[in-house]
Amino acid sequence: MAKVVVASKALKPFDPAQAAKVIESQTRDHGGLISILEEIQLHYGYLPEGALRLVAEKTGRDLVDVYGVATFYRFFSLKPRGEHQISCCLGTACHVRGGALLAEEFQRQLGVKPGENTPDGKFSLETVACLGACALGPIVVGDGHYYSNVNSSRVKAIIQETLEGLKRKDPAADESLFPLTLHCPHCNHGLLDPDTPVDRQPSVRLLLAHQGRQGFLHLSRLYGSHGHSTQVEVPAGEVTDLYCPHCQALLNAPDDCPACGAARVALLLAGGGVFQVCSRRGCLEQTLDLDGRSF
């Protein structure tokens, strides 16, 4: 079974029960300390002290060892990081092409030194030794997106694009987005609605209920896009109930969202497989399970 997880970047408060779940799932799969820490960092954006203590307790390791590993790797952060990460390469190749000047420009525009977060918690700036793309230098990475041959005049645009995050993906041009054809798992009716396009594609129509109000929710059928439109305005962070518009069955999946703990909605994929999306407004967690087929 192949699994693709697009995790939310939003910072979440440390929740021991949730962390314990993460640790258990990782211990079952491979049991490596680094993969457990990676998973925790993916969820919280950093490694909370409580989580490290819990890891030590659950895996039977000494806290000293867990702490030693967590501080050894630059990848792990013990301090909360900004919502968006900007890494500026200062490897040899990038350095001679002006990487240091770029790093200075980022420091000036963001008003923070490398390793610090902006006061509003939006950005954290880092310098890295090498990203392995020396021919394209100087390299800047904004939330996992590589910008090549950067010069100082592009710094502002990079900060802006990184701030806008996943929304910057152009559904028409981005080939990493692909359309899904989804069905209700209860009545097997197709859910695509060509009359209300989202991302210029037929949308996935669901019935949404939130605090007594009801209306249609149209999701983008492009996996990874997060585009949607709705008739009911739901404040960010609220959990909603989603129903099939044909058979009115509640679409909740058996297991909750691994990122925020809210109920998830499970939809059938044409050709086999399950697509799951979190029912919390603003949570970007999506999972694609393609049974028995490599992805």
């Binding site: 490290l52 000494d62 806290l63 000293v64 867990v66 702490y67």
Partner: protein, 226 residues
């Protein structure tokens, strides 16, 4: 048993013994700093280097971690070894000149000066205290943190560890931390342990950034203020 050549002498020893064990048994002195009987060998200080092999294949290895093999050729005091040891001692003196242990070792090897930038580190990262804590005291309260030039020894999160029983084992084995219990000015520190009538950690403002795991200190019973 395995036979090998030690300084031209054919000797026999149990497989699994280290070069250091055998050389000391046969009376060849090898200086060590991070080695201690009862603690696992660590190979951190590199003082125990010896030369193995012959001709162009000859190389330096740490004798405390190198197990003997049949047919091995070992020289414990060749010109190359002595040169390397002197360099290591100079480097140790550059980072932690106030240590009585390092001063004595340097004197014994006729190192009278060092040519590097003088620093006064509290720690040479020899790992004796962490091994003492883990292997003899079964506590594992302190360990290495971070890496590279930011590598330090201490408790997780710099908090008083629940595992620490204030046994003082870490301080007992530390070759570098005599400073804070002996003298207040690192540039002038010539141990002075014998004249140490009252520990100067009483003058706390000079010591609050120093690494001491003992809170309260077992020697002076003063609680460190954060």
């Amino acid at each position: 048993m395995a036979a090998f050549k030690l300084n031209g002498l054919v000797v026999e020893a149990e497989k699994g013994d280290t070069i250091l064990d055998v050389a000391r048994f046969y009376g060849f002195p090898i200086p060590t700093l991070c080695h201690m009987e009862g603690l696992s060998p660590y190979g951190a200080c590199r003082l125990c280097v010896v030369e193995i092999g012959e001709g162009p294949q000859a190389r330096l290895v740490t004798s405390c971690t190198y197990p003997i093999q049949e047919g091995l050729v070992v020289r414990t005091a060749s010109e190359r070894v002595v040169k390397a040891r002197k360099m290591i001692l100079e480097l140790l003196l550059a980072s932690c000149p106030q240590s009585k242990t390092i001063q004595d070792l340097a004197a014994a090897h006729e190192v009278r000066r060092q040519r590097f930038k003088q620093e006064y580190e509290d720690c040479i990262l020899c790992g004796l205290c962490t091994r003492m804590c883990e292997e003899q005291m079964m506590a594992k309260a302190i360990g290495f943190r971070a890496r590279g030039e930011r590598r330090t020894i201490g408790t997780p999160f710099d908090l008083r560890s629940e595992e620490c029983r204030l046994c003082g084992g870490c301080i007992y084995v530390c070759p570098a931390c005599q400073l804070r219990c002996t003298y207040t000015q690192p540039e002038k520190a010539i141990c002075g342990g014998c004249a140490n009538l009252s520990p100067p950690c009483v003058e706390k403002e000079q010591f609050h950034d120093m690494m001491c795991y003992m809170d309260p200190c077992v020697a002076c019973e003063i609680t460190k203020e954060k």
